[in-house]
Symmetry: C2
């Protein structure tokens, strides 16, 4: 007695063949269609037959093959999400928000990291499309180079952007009100008397920042806008010169050190574009023996958990991160459901948490 014969695309190394509707149908002595109806709980099946089928399924250890189902229905009940880096707490939280909403609606999530790289993002999107996700959630690596995003639209799949918008694309978007947040944060600093305030972001940008430059990330662009507006409102000349980008390249801590050591620049306060940057600044200040807030005031985006336990605790602009992911998922699911309404952009409010990292600049 040899191995039981086996079609090609079966098994997973071990001898067991998957049990299918046919098997269940046979065991319950009904047709495949009836078995499927009983199992899938659709159509009309008599009480008796249903029980018989379900018993048979149970007994055989039947597990539906979601892929086969997708093949015939055209729906995978799966969302794709592509984030910059899941290790970044921002994305982890947003992903969780999206996952919760997705699950509640019967969807699961395929996760990809773009590393903020257009190529990697493109590959990730390709994979997701190949897997026939019903729609995609993406925090685009670029707000201006839209090729990657267009392939999604061309494939006819719903797309929702989160964290960063792509103004030139007609798609649903969920972002936070970064402009206003930056303005408020910066306002705190100018109100305390600071005139020489640096803004630090890790975003890549060739050359120094100049007014009118378009940045790759709309959220950073908005933050920069709010920042420069606030400086301008405070009568500070040449606000753009206080914007420092490309911090990943040089390293946040080295950049911060360089800034703090430059007596001519005379920086007395820093706006960190996210909590990772704030951490780097904190380290630099400590390394140089500058005390916060006495020698340096610091404010940052994102209420990372640690910001409340440092000495001093840091003043932050909190974003509704979980909700950003959740709302994006909601919009996406709605589109998947067939909503053909006009494109919407949700701009969620941020809120200020004042702690102890801001003080008037030291006399010099």
């Amino acid at each position: 007695m040899g191995e039981p014969p086996n079609g090609h695309g079966n098994g997973h190394g071990n001898g067991r063949r998957e049990v299918t509707v046919s098997d269940v149908a046979a065991a319950a002595k009904v047709s495949k269609a009836t078995a499927a109806r009983a199992l899938g709980d659709y159509g009309a099946v008599s009480e008796a037959v249903r029980d018989r089928v379900q018993a048979a399924a149970e007994q055989l250890g039947y597990r539906p093959n979601a892929l086969a189902r997708t093949m015939s229905t055209g729906r995978s009940n799966t969302l794709g999400i592509v984030v910059g880096d899941i290790e970044n707490p921002f994305f982890a939280q947003a992903t969780r928000g999206a996952a919760d909403v997705a699950n509640a609606a019967g969807f699961d999530l395929i996760l990809s990291n773009s590393d903020e790289e257009a190529d990697t993002e493109q590959k990730a999107i390709g994979v997701q499309l190949a897997k026939r996700v019903d729609g995609l959630l993406v925090a685009p690596a670029s707000s201006v180079d839209l090729d990657n995003l267009r392939t999604i639209i061309d494939a006819g799949r719903p797309l929702v952007l989160f964290d960063r918008a792509a103004p030139d694309l007609e798609v649903d978007t969920v972002v936070a009100d970064n402009r206003r947040g930056a303005e408020q944060l910066t306002g705190l600093l100018t109100a305390a008397g600071h005139r020489r305030i640096a803004f630090i972001s890790t975003i890549r940008h060739p050359g120094g920042f100049r007014r009118g430059d378009t940045l790759g990330s709309s959220s950073v662009a908005d933050r920069v806008q709010g920042f420069t507006d606030a400086l301008e409102g405070a009568g500070i000349a040449d606000p753009e010169s206080f914007v420092h980008l490309n911090a990943r390249q040089e390293g946040v801590e080295p950049l911060a050190r360089r800034l703090l050591e430059d007596r001519d620049r005379g920086i007395t306060a820093i706006v960190a574009s996210d909590s990772l940057i704030a951490l780097g600044v904190f380290r630099a200040a400590r390394a140089l023996g500058r005390s916060i807030p006495h020698d340096l005031s610091l404010v940052a985006f994102d209420d990372a958990d640690w910001t409340s336990v440092t000495t001093p605790a840091v003043t932050v602009m909190a974003q509704p991160i979980h909700e950003i992911g959740a709302e994006a998922a909601r919009l996406l699911i709605r589109r998947i459901g067939g909503d053909g309404g006009p494109v919407v952009t949700r701009t969620l409010p941020q809120h200020l948490i004042e702690r102890d990292s801001v003080a008037p600049p030291a006399r010099r």
Copy 2:
């Protein structure tokens, strides 16, 4: 001219039909089989035909349907990963490690959160199996209740456990050397002269901890073992009484406060089972005006980024988290590749980072 006719399981709301191998074949004037061969780059196809087919594919915007492929080959090139909570930095890092290895090997990842809940975990596993993942990576919600894990094995899918082992199950596992880590960490404290040291974990456990109790998570169990061993080695009586579990239920900060305010217990040092707990302890100490390390020494597992910027910076036992995920993925992929070798358990070393949160206990 009406809409082009359309089979059932097609389109995604919009009118466009997916372009398939057949379409490409037709355009290139070859058979479906040949087109597939040219596209999939297998079998034998003449140079000329290959070019013609690929051009046609390009021109039509052909995108392979990974699900159909999986249907016929039986391989999805997808791994499932189920973690406690992706918002927990530990899991985020481990997931990243796994994703990197997976991608490099041509696999993608379906992510699920178990919330450390058996039911949720079971559902997640069910979904993954239905999606026909080629194998699963799981940080099991329970190291002792093995039903969930067994369904994976029964389904004939390779499984690799990470972070927590399940001693009664024959399956590849990647964990850190928690016992030794805990012993070292605790040894630091006893060496500094502490005799009344509390260990805090959020793990759920009915009733107070008693020697010989089996804990739901093997990693916490190992930590507790190392902790009590160290106390015992230092000649401290009744080590179990210093183990505090269920911290999630009461809340880490409240529990820590309670501990610190209990003059009779006279706790002078705390071992935090992870960085989130350390954060709670930090908050509690601050709220009560206890200074670390003068009034309280603190050590913790995981080198969370913030632990180096607090005042004082905290002494931690770092785990190779990224590598835990990566190695787990490697093992899994090897199994998927058909390796039938004996089950392996990898126990990765942890390493101590001494900072400034430990000092001799205050005289009283």
